[in-house]
C-alpha cells in the first residue's frame, strides 16, 4: 500500500492532520489502533475556553473539523467573559463524548482522499535521514512520502493510581512501546511529562437536589462560523459542589501513598492543572476548592467531576470523594489516574512541524509537549497542511504569531520549547485585542483558502460576509449626526455634537452601542456578526492601530530569514552562551531569534549585520558570475 501522506494516530491532532491533507487533495492514510477510538476525548468532555476557543475558531476558519463536530455534540454552551470587553469573549462547550466521536468519524469517512487503516505502527524505515515507510503490526509495510506522527500520550505511556502503575496510553489502551523504542534510537531529545484525570462517578449515585445548578447560555453561541443553534442536540445543565476541610484532611493523610509525592512519577506536570492533592498541598490556606460536575453525554451514566484530578490510591479516592457534598454515596466507576509519557523537544521542529533531523517526518499534538485537544488539533492542521503542500511542491502555510493563536502556539513551541505541558492562554499573545474569536475567519480563511484547505462553499460565505461588512461600513461612514439633529442626540442621551459626527465615529464611544444608535437613526440592523465586527473594530480602533504598527515591525523581522545551517560561531563578538542558544534553537528568522531568552539587542544587531554581509557577498558573486557568462 502507498500514500502521499500517512498520519499515525487518530486523536485530535491526527484527525485534523489527516483531514487537512485530504482537503488539499493528496492521497492520505490514517493509521490508528482502533477505528472506534478515533476522535476520543481522553479527558474532560469539553471543548473551548479562553485561549483554546480561539484556536478552535481558527481551525474552523481553515475549514478544519473540530468546531463543527463540537457544535453537533454540544450539550451545554457558554460564552466566557461575556460581561467583559468584546475582545476577550470565549466560547466553551460541554460535549457529548459519543456524539463527538461519531461526528469526527463521519467527517473522516466522508473525505475522498482519505483511507483509514486499523493497527499499531511499530516501526519506521529511515534512510539517509529521510523517512520512507512505516510498518503496521507484525510487518505490513506502508510506503509514504510524508509521515505525521500524532501518538499523544501513548509513547512509553505509564498509568498511575496510588502505588500501582502499569503501561498504557490511557485507560483501556495499550502504550506504544515498540515505536517509542524506535524513536529513542534516533537521536531526538526526549523528555517525560505527566498529566492526570479525575475519577468518574455514576450519575444515579449523586444527590442532585442539594447541588447548585448552572444552566447554559441563552441564546446559545456556536463554535463554528458556519453553524447555527439548530444543529445543537438537547441541552443539559452543569452543577457545582466544593471540597471541604474533611476532604483535605483525608487527602493530606494519604499523601505518602501518592505517586507524585513519593517520587514515583518523574515527569513534569502542568502548573495550571494540578491534581487535587497538589492544590491542597500548595494552597494550604484555601479551605475549599470548587468542583464543576459535568455531564459526560446525553446517554451516559457518568459524570466528570472537574477539579479533583488525582492519582491517589483507590481507597483514598473513595473516601475523599464521599466527603464532598452531594457525593456522600457516590459510586466511582473509573478511578482517577495520572499518565506519564514521552515527548520530544519541539525546538527540534521547523515551523511546518517537520522534524529537523528526519526529512519528511512531522510531529503534532501532545508528543510535542502540549496538552489539550485544541492545542493538538491546531498542530495537526498545520502539520497536515504542510506535509501535503510540501508533497505538492507548494509554498508552506505557516501562520504567524501576529495573526493567529496557531502562530503563537507553534512559534512558542519551536523557539522556546517547553518544560511542562503547554496550554494556550490569551496572555501568551502580544496582540490580544486583534487576535479575537470573532475575527478568526478574517485572519485565517483567505490564506488557508490559497493553501487549498478551504472549500469553495465556505469561501463564498466568507467573501459575502466581508463584502457586507465593507458595504455596511461605507454606509455608516456617510451617516452623520449633525448639531441640528436634536431628536437623535436627545434619544441617545448625549450632548449636542460640535460638528457632524459619523455613525462609525460615534461607535468609538464606550457608552453607545450599535443597536441604540441604529434605533436613534432608524436604520435597518444588519446580522449580529456584522454588527459585532463593526462595533468591536470601532471601539478598539486606537488600540488596533497601535498593535498593527507593532505587527508591521514584527513582520519585518519575521521576513529577515536566517539560512538553515547558519554558522553562529562565524558571527564575531557573540558570546559562547549566546552562540550555543542560537545553535540549539536555529531560529528561522530574526523575529524568532529575538524571542529566545537571554539574547541581547547587541547580539541581534551583530547577527543582522552578518546576515546582510552574507547577502551582499552572494549578490556580488552572482553579479560577477553573470558578467563572465554572457
Amino acid at each position: 500500500m502507498k500514500a502521499d501522506v500517512i498520519v499515525i494516530g487518530g486523536g485530535h491532532a491526527g484527525c485534523e492532520a489527516a483531514a487537512a491533507a485530504a482537503r488539499i487533495g493528496v492521497k492520505t492514510i490514517l493509521v490508528t489502533h482502533k477505528f472506534e477510538t478515533i476522535g476520543q476525548m481522553s479527558c474532560n468532555p469539553a471543548i473551548g475556553g479562553v485561549g483554546k476557543s480561539h484556536l478552535v475558531k481558527e481551525i474552523d476558519a481553515a475549514d478544519g473539523i473540530m468546531a463543527r463536530c463540537a457544535d453537533r455534540a454540544a450539550i451545554h454552551l457558554k460564552v466566557l467573559n461575556s460581561s467583559k470587553g468584546q475582545a476577550v469573549r470565549a466560547t466553551r462547550a460541554q460535549a457529548d463524548r459519543e456524539l463527538y466521536k461519531k461526528y469526527v468519524q463521519k467527517e473522516l469517512k466522508n473525505l475522498d482522499n482519505l483511507e483509514i487503516v486499523e493497527g499499531e505502527v511499530t516501526d519506521f524505515d529511515i534512510q539517509n535521514n529521510q523517512i520512507g515507510s512505516v510498518t503496521v503490526g507484525e510487518g505490513k509495510i506502508l510506503k509514504a512520502q510524508k509521515v505525521i506522527l500524532t501518538t499523544g500520550t501513548f509513547l512509553n505511556g505509564k498509568l498511575f493510581t496510588g502505588m500501582d502503575n502499569n503501561e498504557g496510553g490511557r485507560v483501556g489502551d495499550n502504550s506504544s512501546k515498540k515505536l517509542a523504542a524506535k524513536l529513542r534510537s534516533i537521536d531526538f531529545s526526549v523528555g517525560r511529562l505527566k498529566t492526570g484525570t479525575p475519577p468518574r462517578i455514576h450519575k444515579e449515585s449523586i444527590n442532585w437536589e442539594i447541588l447548585e445548578e448552572q444552566k447554559g447560555d441563552v441564546p446559545r453561541p456556536t463554535i463554528s462560523f458556519l453553524s447555527d443553534q439548530s444543529i445543537h442536540p438537547e441541552q443539559v445543565s452543569c452543577f457545582i459542589t466544593r471540597t471541604n476541610e474533611k476532604t483535605h484532611e483525608i487527602i493530606i493523610g494519604d499523601l505518602d501513598r501518592s505517586p507524585m509525592f513519593s517520587g514515583k512519577i518523574e515527569g513534569v506536570g502542568p502548573r495550571y492543572c494540578p491534581s487535587i492533592e497538589d492544590k491542597i498541598f500548595r494552597f494550604k490556606d484555601k479551605k475549599s476548592h470548587q468542583i464543576f460536575i459535568e455531564p459526560e453525554g446525553l446517554n451516559s451514566d457518568l459524570i466528570y467531576p472537574n477539579g479533583i484530578s488525582t492519582s491517589l490510591p483507590k481507597d483514598c479516592q473513595e473516601k475523599f470523594v464521599r466527603s464532598i457534598e452531594g457525593f456522600e454515596s457516590a459510586q466511582i466507576t473509573q478511578y482517577g489516574y495520572a499518565v506519564e509519557y514521552d515527548f520530544f523537544d519541539p525546538r527540534e521542529l521547523h515551523e511546518t512541524l517537520e522534524t529537523r533531523k528526519i526529512k519528511n517526518l512531522y510531529f503534532a499534538g501532545q508528543i510535542n509537549g502540549t496538552t489539550g485537544y485544541e492545542e493538538a488539533a491546531a498542530q495537526g492542521l498545520v502539520a497536515g497542511a504542510n506535509a501535503a503542500l510540501s508533497f505538492l511542491g507548494k509554498d508552506p502555510w505557516t501562520p504567524g504569531r501576529e495573526e493567529s493563536y496557531l502562530g503563537v502556539l507553534i512559534d512558542d513551541l519551536v523557539t522556546l520549547g517547553t518544560k511542562e505541558p503547554y496550554r494556550m492562554f490569551t496572555s501568551r499573545s502580544e496582540h490580544r485585542l486583534i487576535l479575537r474569536e470573532d475575527n478568526a475567519d478574517q485572519r485565517i480563511t483567505e490564506k488557508a483558502y490559497k493553501a487549498g484547505l478551504v472549500s469553495e462553499g465556505r469561501y463564498k460565505i466568507f467573501s459575502e460576509k466581508i463584502n457586507k461588512i465593507i458595504k455596511e461600513k461605507g454606509k455608516l461612514a456617510k451617516l452623520f449626526l449633525r448639531p441640528e439633529d436634536e431628536k437623535i442626540y436627545s434619544a441617545l442621551k448625549i450632548k449636542e455634537p460640535k460638528s457632524a459626527t459619523s455613525f462609525l465615529d460615534l461607535l468609538k464611544r464606550p457608552e453607545l452601542d450599535f443597536y441604540d444608535l441604529a434605533r436613534a437613526f432608524s436604520i435597518e440592523i444588519p446580522e449580529n456578526d456584522i454588527v459585532f465586527d463593526i462595533e468591536t473594530n470601532q471601539r478598539y480602533s486606537g488600540y488596533i492601530k497601535r498593535q498593527m504598527d507593532e505587527i508591521e515591525k514584527m513582520k519585518k523581522n519575521r521576513n529577515a530569514h536566517i539560512p538553515s545551517n547558519f554558522d553562529y560561531s562565524s558571527v564575531k563578538g557573540l558570546s559562547a552562551e549566546i552562540t550555543q542558544k542560537l545553535s540549539k534553537v536555529e531560529p528561522k528568522t530574526l523575529a524568532q531569534a529575538w524571542r529566545i531568552p537571554g539574547i541581547t539587542p547587541a547580539a541581534i544587531s551583530a547577527l543582522m549585520v552578518c546576515l546582510k554581509r552574507n547577502e551582499k557577498e552572494t549578490a556580488d558573486k552572482n553579479a560577477r558570475g553573470s558578467i563572465r557568462e554572457p
Binding site: 470587553g85 501568551r428 485585542l433 478598539y540 554581509r613 556580488d620
Partner: protein, 430 residues
C-alpha cells in the same frame, strides 16, 4: 526609512560644543518642530528653539537628505552649547517629536544596512556595536544599581500584583478565582501613586546622575579637611592638629571646569578608636566610600601604608609634601595642602577620572531608562480608571505595556514566567 533615532554624538560634558544627531523617517518634521525650519539638503542654518520657559537655545543645524547622508536616511546634526542639561533637553524634545534613543552603534549600523559602508567595514561595525554595547551594558547596570533600581523593583512588584488579578480575570474567568475589582483598583491606585512619585523624582535622580560624588577619605590627621577646604575654596571643614576632628561628613558642591562635583569630607578611619561617637563617624565614612564615584585616598608620611583596599574609583593622594617626600614608587598625586602645592594637578586628575569614557554611556543609559519610566507613566495615564469588567481588556493592554517598558529597565519578564506568577497566586485547574 526607520523610526528616527537621536543621540549626542560628541563626548558628554566635554568641550564647548555638543552635536546632537538624528537620523530616520521623522527627521524633517522634527527639524520643523524644533526650529520651524525647512529641511534643505546640504545647508547649515542657525536657528533657535525653546527648551524651557523663557529659555531659548541658539543652534547650528546641518541637514543631509537621504540617501546622500552618513546613514543613508535623512540626517540632521544640531550643534548646541556643550552643557549636559541643554543636550538632554534637546534630546527630550526630539523624542517628543517622534524619535527614540539610539542604541549603541546604531547610526553606523544603519549606514551599513543602507549600503553606505562597504563590506570590508562590516567587521568594524560589529566591533563598534560590541564595544559600545559593552560599555552601554556596564553603564546600564550602573544606572540601575542603587536607589533607582530598587525603586524600579518596588514599582514593578506593585504593577505585577495588579496584572496578576487583571490577567486572571480574563484567562481564568471560568475558575474559582473570585477576582474582586475593588481589590484590583485599590492595588492599581497604590501602584499609580508610587509610579507618579517616581516619575516626579526621576528628574532629580538624573541631576544627581550628571553630578559626581567625590569622597575624601583616609586615616585621621593626614589633612583631609585641609584638602577639602582648598578644593571648595572655603573653610567648610574644621582643621586642627587633634586626631579625629571631623566626625560627621561635610558636604560641598564644587565645580571643576564644566563638571558638577559633590565633595564629601569624612571622619578619619581609625580602627583602634574606643570613642563611640568617632566609631559612628567612621561607619558613615565607610558607607560614603561605597557610594562614591571617586575616592581620594589621602595619606601622609606617618600613614604611608594605609589602604582602603579598593581597586576601582580610587585616586591616591600623598599630602604634606612640604615636610616629607612620598615613598618610592608612589603612584598618585603628591600635594601640600598647607602650601597649596600641586592642587591644580589634583583637580586635573579628578576631572580626567570623572569625565572618563563611562560617563557618556552612563548618561545615555539613564536617559533611556528615564524615557522608559515616562512611557510607562503615559500608559498608566491612559488606562481606564476605575478598572471594571467592561474595560478590563483595555486596562490589561495598558498595564502590559507599562510592564514591558518598566521591565526593559532591568529584566523583562516573559509571558510564561508571568503565567507562573499567576499559578502560584491562584489555585487553577480541573
Amino acid at each position: 526609512m526607520e523610526q528616527a533615532i537621536v543621540a549626542c554624538s560628541t563626548p558628554q560634558g566635554r568641550g564647548a560644543i555638543s552635536v546632537v544627531r538624528i537620523s530616520g523617517k521623522e527627521v524633517k518634521s522634527i527639524i520643523y518642530g524644533l526650529f520651524s525650519l525647512k529641511f534643505d539638503h546640504g545647508t547649515s542654518k542657525v536657528a533657535e528653539t525653546s527648551l524651557s520657559e523663557g529659555f531659548n537655545e541658539k543652534c547650528l543645524i546641518s541637514c543631509f537628505e537621504g540617501p546622500a547622508s552618513y546613514t543613508g536616511e535623512d540626517v540632521a546634526e544640531i550643534s548646541c552649547h556643550g552643557n549636559p542639561l541643554i543636550v538632554r533637553a534637546l534630546i527630550q524634545k526630539c523624542i517628543k517629536l517622534g524619535a527614540k534613543n539610539a542604541n549603541p552603534g546604531e547610526f553606523t549600523q544603519r549606514a551599513f544596512l543602507n549600503n553606505k559602508i562597504d563590506l570590508a567595514q562590516s567587521e568594524a561595525v560589529i566591533d563598534l556595536i560590541n564595544a559600545s554595547s559593552g560599555a552601554a551594558m556596564v553603564a546600564a547596570s550602573k544606572s540601575v544599581s542603587g536607589n533607582f533600581g530598587k525603586n524600579v523593583d518596588k514599582i514593578l512588584e506593585k504593577l505585577r500584583k495588579v496584572r496578576i488579578l487583571v490577567e486572571s480575570s480574563i484567562d481564568f474567568s471560568d475558575q474559582d478565582t473570585n477576582i474582586d475589582f475593588m481589590q484590583i483598583n485599590s492595588l492599581f491606585n497604590d501602584f499609580r501613586c508610587l509610579l507618579g512619585d517616581f516619575d516626579a523624582r526621576i528628574e532629580e535622580g538624573i541631576r544627581i546622575m550628571s553630578e559626581h560624588r567625590v569622597v575624601v577619605a583616609g586615616p585621621p590627621n593626614v589633612g583631609k579637611s585641609s584638602i577639602m577646604n582648598i578644593l571648595s575654596g572655603e573653610e567648610a571643614s574644621i582643621v586642627t592638629e587633634i586626631k579625629g576632628t571631623t566626625r560627621d561628613p561635610i558636604y560641598k558642591k564644587i565645580q571643576i571646569k564644566d563638571l558638577q562635583v559633590d565633595i564629601y569630607d569624612t571622619a578619619g578611619i581609625n580602627e583602634e578608636t574606643r570613642d563611640e561617637i568617632e566609631k559612628l563617624g567612621i561607619d558613615k565614612s565607610r558607607s560614603l566610600i561605597e557610594g562614591a564615584d571617586l575616592i581620594l585616598e589621602v595619606v601622609d608620611s606617618e600613614n604611608k601604608d594605609f589602604s582602603l583596599k579598593k581597586d576601582e574609583n580610587i585616586l591616591k593622594v600623598f599630602n604634606k609634601s612640604d615636610i616629607s617626600d612620598p615613598p618610592k614608587g608612589f603612584s598618585g598625586v603628591v600635594v601640600s595642602a598647607l602650601e597649596k602645592r600641586n592642587i591644580g594637578a589634583l583637580e586635573e586628575k579628578i576631572y580626567e577620572l570623572l569625565s572618563g569614557d563611562g560617563t557618556n554611556a552612563l548618561f545615555s543609559a539613564r536617559e533611556r531608562h528615564r524615557n522608559l519610566v515616562k512611557k510607562a507613566f503615559l500608559e498608566i495615564d491612559s488606562c481606564p480608571d476605575p478598572i471594571d469588567m467592561k474595560n478590563v481588556d483595555i486596562a490589561a493592554e495598558h498595564l502590559k505595556l507599562a510592564d514591558i517598558f518598566l521591565g526593559d529597565i532591568k529584566s523583562p519578564m516573559s509571558a510564561d514566567d508571568f503565567l507562573g506568577e499567576i499559578f502560584s497566586t491562584f489555585c487553577i485547574g480541573k
